[in-house]
């Protein structure tokens, strides 16, 4: 598993994109619950 391990640059990009996507997912979750809260306001 050694020769084609991702380079340091690739690791950095992989980690950053993974975090961005995870934050987007969480953000969507929060946004939809917030929309429910807003809609329920009298």
């Amino acid at each position: 598993m050694a020769e084609r391990d991702p380079t340091a640059e690739q690791r950095r990009r992989i980690r950053r994109s993974a975090i961005v996507l995870a934050v987007v997912a969480i953000g969507i979750y929060v946004a939809f619950i917030a929309s429910g809260v807003m809609k329920a306001q009298p």
Partner: protein, 530 residues
């Protein structure tokens, strides 16, 4: 080099692994191992969900109540669907993705191998909870897989288990999707530009974006169900200023892309198989990519066609009718391109091709009934009848499931190193194809005749087609045992498979350049991609 699939064909919770035993499977970060686990899990879930369907078809065999309590019947319809959608189809496509994406892009593994392991075991936890919920006081969830409030809030002690199961499964999917995107975007072999990737990889790339966009929406919806039930919120209760229809909007905003999440990888599989067995390149590669992307984009703006009878303003009904009809266009483009691939090809009909061709015919039928349902005034007669049930089972069973089976029959020799029993596989194909139509085609008639869905008993004018459908159900269900047998037999042994396996697979993907079975570690050196 250690081999990959050895005894992994036994039940999910086996301990017959190679040297390291059960710890290998609990802690593996290898995409081939994880792919195998996903596929075995999905097969077990397929049989479980199928058994529930047989309970349904057994009760519906004749009018009158013969077997089960109506509440249990509703539980069966609910859990059958939850298992099939989240436990069978989606994990199967994820399993295929895990096995094949690194191989097809020339990468040594997925970008985030440890998260990959977590994704799988989260799924096992999720379904343990869901199945456990069946044994809770008050019975399992029985509000339909759509879980509409207020009805779903009448669920007994099973409720929090079901919600938590969904959260875990959702987290699993989201992490899997993140993994797939970062793998495809970062680990392609040099020379493999995006528009050179196999279409299976493309469809999974697009599917992964859909998953990230909508699984959190579903999670939000069920979180609000949870708080409505336990913490006195009233998101969906009119008495507190909320709206049950809000749930439906949120659910279907997730739910419609969800069905494309299930079918796009199937499109990808079929796009790999038809060219191989036509000995001809896929027709219109670029158009296929754009069509897939269009379908994914359009899937976000059609959701309320599931809600035409909810009391929508005219403008809403118009918009969703038109956007829904529009999706037929890119879908048609794909069907035409597959057909054009076969045109003036040199066809052979091994099991993968048989299943891919059945997909082509029968998914198209499902597509036509979908188009009919998009006509909003007509939908007032179809909605919540067996016409809908017929439609989605056509696109999901001889659609997604047949494509998955085609993929298994296509790649199984690569995974195991053995060719399977072709004669038995042909039997499996013909039995499945005949019975799936006996099972689902009459349901169009039942819906048009006026039979609602989700009912355990019916008026006697619906008896004849129901009997036919139930016979088809049992026939189809039993035929799947053949599939299990074929896989187990193949894993155990069989004629040695070459690297290329299929004569037509020449130049049809990097996976055919590695030995069969694929070594535990592949592409540790970057392949040459022209």
């Amino acid at each position: 080099m250690s081999t990959t699939l050895t005894h992994g064909h036994a039940a999910v919770h086996d301990d017959h692994g190679p040297a390291k035993g059960i710890m290998r499977w609990l802690t593996t970060t290898n995409h081939k191992d994880i792919g195998t686990m996903y596929l075995i899990f999905s097969l077990v879930m397929f049989l479980t969900g199928g058994a529930m369907a047989l309970v349904i078809r057994a009760e519906l065999f004749m009018p009158g109540m013969q077997l089960v309590d109506p509440q249990f019947f509703n539980t069966m319809t609910t859990v059958h669907a939850l298992i099939m959608v989240f436990g069978a189809v989606m994990p199967a496509t994820v399993g295929l993705a895990n096995w094949m994406i690194p191989l097809q892009i020339g990468a040594p593994d997925m970008a985030l191998p440890r998260m990959n392991n977590l994704s799988f075991w989260l799924l096992v936890s999720a379904f343990s909870l869901l199945i456990l919920s069946l044994f809770m006081p008050g019975g399992g969830p029985a509000a339909g897989w759509t879980l509409y409030p207020p009805l779903v809030l009448q669920t007994g002690d099973a409720f929090p288990l079901a919600i938590f199961a969904i959260h875990l499964a959702g987290a699993s999917s989201i992490m899997g999707a993140i993994n797939i995107i970062v793998t495809i975007m970062n680990l392609r072999a040099p020379g493999m530009g995006l528009l050179k990737m196999p279409l299976f990889v493309w469809t999974w790339l697009i599917t992964a974006y859909l998953l990230i966009a909508v699984m959190p929406v579903f999670a939000g919806a069920v979180t609000m169900l949870l708080t409505d039930h336990f913490f006195h919120t009233t998101f969906f209760a009119a008495a507190g200023g909320g709206d049950p229809v809000l749930y439906q909007h949120i659910f279907w905003f997730f739910g419609h892309p969800e069905v494309y999440i299930m079918i796009l990888p199937a499109f990808g599989i079929v796009s790999e198989i038809i060219p191989t067995f036509s000995r001809k390149k896929l027709f219109g590669y670029d158009a296929m990519v754009y069509a897939t992307a269009s379908i994914a984009f359009l899937s976000f703006i059609v959701w309320a066609h599931h809600m035409f009878v909810v009391g929508m303003p005219l403008a809403g009904e118009m918009f969703f009718m038109l956007s829904t009809m529009l999706i037929a266009v890119p879908t048609g483009v794909k069907v035409f391109n597959w057909t054009a691939t076969m045109w003036r090809g040199s066809l052979t009909f091994e099991p993968p091709m048989l299943f891919a061709l059945a997909f082509l015919f029968l998914f198209t039928i499902g597509g036509f009934s979908g188009l009919m349902m998009g006509i909003a005034p007509a939908d007032f007669q179809y909605h919540d009848t067996y016409f809908i049930v017929a439609h989605f089972h056509y696109v999901l069973v001889p659609g997604a499931v047949f494509a998955i089976m085609a993929g298994v029959y296509y790649w199984l020799p690569k995974w195991t190193g053995h060719m399977y029993d072709i004669k038995l596989a042909n039997w499996h194909f013909w039995l499945s194809t005949v019975f799936v139509n006996v099972l689902f085609f009459p349901q169009h008639f039942l819906g048009l005749a006026g039979m609602p869905r989700r009912i355990p008993d019916y008026s006697t004018q619906f008896a004849d087609w129901n009997m036919v459908s139930s016979i088809g159900g049992f026939g189809f269900g039993l035929s799947q045992l053949l599939f299990v047998y074929i896989i187990i037999k193949c894993a155990r042994g069989g004629a040695k498979a070459s690297d290329r396996v299929w004569e037509g697979a020449y130049n049809h993907g990097l996976e055919w350049t590695v030995p069969s079975p694929a070594p535990y570690h592949t592409f540790e050196d970057a392949p040459v991609v022209k």
